[in-house]
């Protein structure tokens, strides 16, 4: 397939624009999406192109943004609601969890809620405790929602298209640190990524590194590093936290018999704990070593640079974890 090299930001922009051109029911609402050109510039130029009807600047009203998207979706529109950052989406949790996620079920299928909540996620540049969350597991906890979090521009492109076309409410998390990173993107407006399908980003036979979003960078880095010692890492990029593609994980684990789970988020009740539990339950006889987790430290993220960086996984931490179980 022919590809074009572009940043994740441009891949997202392209996906959004193509889906809006393709389907009149798709519209964007959120804080600063129009006149300001999008806080993260994903909707740059959209107001000029699509007009105020389809690119709607909202008041600073997270609950109303999330809830109005539900109402609009119930009538057949396909809103893409931008929460600016995932930290602010906490204000809208009730609308997302009690309404977006439950309406289809609670009314026995009478209404569909086809919407996407886009939110920039992550830490960096001393953003401090309230602006450094990667809390996607909170949404993944609830049946009724899907959660997608791409690690590459190609996945960002295909996954956002899939999400907009899907009939369910989806939290679509975009890693702030990945916006400028370039990569090849399929030059095909019909390119999509199936919901709930993980992707093996590197094949190997000695240990499985399981991750998502920004963790991919650290895992691929660690794999490269460990290659020097003859250790072949298989890197599984989950891409979706719900549905969770355990089949791909189990198949890889049954080959390598060892796993390190790498997550940018907090360690308690986490993606890592869920997956570790599932692996031991389903692959116990294949287990040659304890499952290791590399997570953020269990602490609010501070302001000062050096101690901020201490909070998060690094390539070195992944390498160290792998070495501990070889």
């Amino acid at each position: 397939m022919a590809t074009k090299n572009m940043s994740m930001r441009d891949a997202l922009k392209r996906a959004l624009q193509e889906e809006m051109e393709r389907d009149e029911r798709v519209f964007i609402m959120g804080q600063e999406v129009g006149q300001w050109q999008g806080t993260h510039r994903v909707t740059q130029g959209f107001l000029e192109k699509f007009g105020e009807r389809r690119v709607r600047d909202t008041p600073i009203s997270e609950m109303a943004i999330a809830g109005a998207a539900v109402g609009a979706a119930m009538t057949g529109l396909r809103p893409v609601a931008e929460m600016m950052t995932i930290n602010f989406a906490f204000l809208a949790l009730d609308a997302m969890i009690n309404h977006a996620a439950k309406i289809h079920y609670m009314f026995n299928g009478q209404f569909k809620v086809p919407l996407v909540y886009r939110a920039a996620s992550g830490w960096g540049n001393q953003a401090t405790a309230t602006h450094s969350h990667t809390p996607e597991v909170i949404w993944a906890h609830f049946p009724g929602l899907y959660v997608g979090l791409p690690a590459t521009p190609a996945d960002a492109y295909g996954m956002l298209k899939t999400s907009i076309r899907n009939d369910n409410p989806i939290l679509f998390s975009e890693s702030i640190g990945l916006y400028p990173k370039p990569g090849p993107v399929p030059d095909d407006p019909e390119y999509t990524v199936p919901i709930g399908k993980a992707d093996i980003k590197r094949e190997g036979k000695h240990v499985t590194l399981i991750t998502y979003a920004r963790g991919l960078e650290w895992c691929l880095g660690a794999a490269k590093e460990l290659e020097k010692d003859g250790v072949e890492c298989e890197v599984v990029d989950m891409r979706w936290l719900r549905p969770l593609d355990t089949e791909t994980v189990f198949n890889s684990f049954r080959k390598t018999h060892r796993a390190v789970i790498v997550e940018e988020s907090l360690p308690f009740y986490s993606f890592g704990s869920e997956l570790a539990a599932q692996i031991q339950e389903h692959c116990f006889d294949d287990m040659d070593a304890p499952i290791k987790r590399v997570s953020a430290l269990d602490v609010p993220v501070p302001y000062s640079r050096d101690i901020e960086l201490m909070c998060f996984p690094t390539t070195e931490k992944v390498v160290k974890a792998v070495k501990e179980i070889l």
């Binding site: 009203s61 809830g67 109005a68 109402g71 119930m74 609670m106 009314f107 026995n108």
Partner: protein, 327 residues
């Protein structure tokens, strides 16, 4: 206001009696443990607001959404009483197949988006439904009920403000029955004149309306719809009412309201008695005719109970797991 025909007035009377009969039956069924869900919020006393609102809807074209005190709207819309009662009992033939219960009635063909059980949670949905009506370039209107207590949480503020900013076709109706659960409006609202909040959102303030007088309710909603359709943007109405029963049936023992207050509302401001008095004054309708209507509603409610009790409970894993996602 166009003059109302005898048939219209009698039809409103019929709907209000149906709601009253239905609610009193629910109360009894709850006491008898034939309705077993813990939450049951009855609408006796509020009938004129619902019937007066629905009277101005083009059912299936316009839209309506409410909180958990939702039986009255479903009945006024013409949702099958048997299906509503079956939902109360968690039965397979309920409006939501037994998955929603009393607080989550809905009917897609009636554009009734439901009862919602998180206070204020449905308000931004109403904003979004109205946004859709405008986005699709229609003249559809959206009626949203708001309990007086809901005016004090953030959803109210955000939803009405967004509605005001975008000039959406929302008719916002505060059902002010004087108490948010057990707390008086005066003890919970800095300004207890709730309709005045419209000013802060650039929403047309239609003031207080006597929510016990269906003629006044009808007139107000008619005017509201006209205001919206002539491009005036959303409106806020404060309908003054009183609920005859507890906040929910399970918390009767905490009901601190004055017995005298309740008796006075029933004696002087009962919506059914008021309408009946009006009909008798304007038209020749005998007591026997009213009794006939009353009896018919009794029979409909009895039939709804029989239907609901004969409907099976959902019982399979397939039923439990259906509709978590759209496939």
């Amino acid at each position: 206001m166009a003059s109302l025909s005898k048939e219209t007035l009698l039809d409103w009377y019929r709907q209000m009696v149906l709601i009253r009969e239905f609610e009193e039956t629910c109360q009894q069924l709850y006491t008898d443990k034939r309705i077993t869900g813990v939450y049951l919020h009855l609408a006796s006393g509020h009938e004129a607001i619902y019937v007066g609102s629905v009277a101005n809807l083009r059912i299936g074209t316009d839209h309506i959404i409410t909180a958990y005190r939702d039986h009255g709207i479903a009945l006024a819309l013409g949702v099958e009483p048997g299906a509503i009662m079956a939902e109360m009992m968690g039965k397979r033939d309920g409006t939501s197949g037994g998955k929603g219960g009393s607080m989550h009635l809905a009917s897609a063909p009636h554009n009734f988006y439901g009862g919602y059980a998180i206070v204020g949670g449905h308000l931004p949905l109403a904003t979004g439904i109205a946004l859709s009506a405008k986005y699709r370039e229609t003249d559809e209107i959206v009626i949203s009920m708001i309990g007086d207590g809901a005016t004090n949480n953030g959803y109210f503020h955000e939803s009405l403000n967004m509605s005001g900013v975008w000039k959406l076709p929302n008719i916002w109706i505060i059902e002010n029955n004087g108490y948010g659960m057990g707390t008086e409006v005066e003890r919970s609202s800095g300004n207890p004149v709730l309709h005045e909040r419209a000013i802060g959102y650039g929403i047309h303030d239609m003031g207080r309306v006597d929510g016990q007088d269906i003629l006044k309710m009808n007139e107000a909603i008619e005017e509201a719809a006209k205001h919206i359709r002539s491009g005036g943007g959303p409106v806020l109405i404060e309908a003054m009412t009183y609920r005859y029963l507890g906040h929910g049936v399970s918390d009767k023992q905490y009901d601190t309201r004055m017995k005298e207050e309740l008796e006075q509302w029933k004696r002087e401001k009962d919506p059914i008695t008021l309408l009946r008095g009006h009909i008798v004054k304007k038209h020749k309708v005998s007591d026997a005719e009213f009794t006939k209507i009353d009896d018919e509603q009794r029979k409909i409610v009895d039939a709804s109970v029989a239907f609901a009790e004969s409907s099976p409970l959902p019982s399979t894993l397939e039923e439990l797991m259906a509709h978590i996602y759209v496939d």
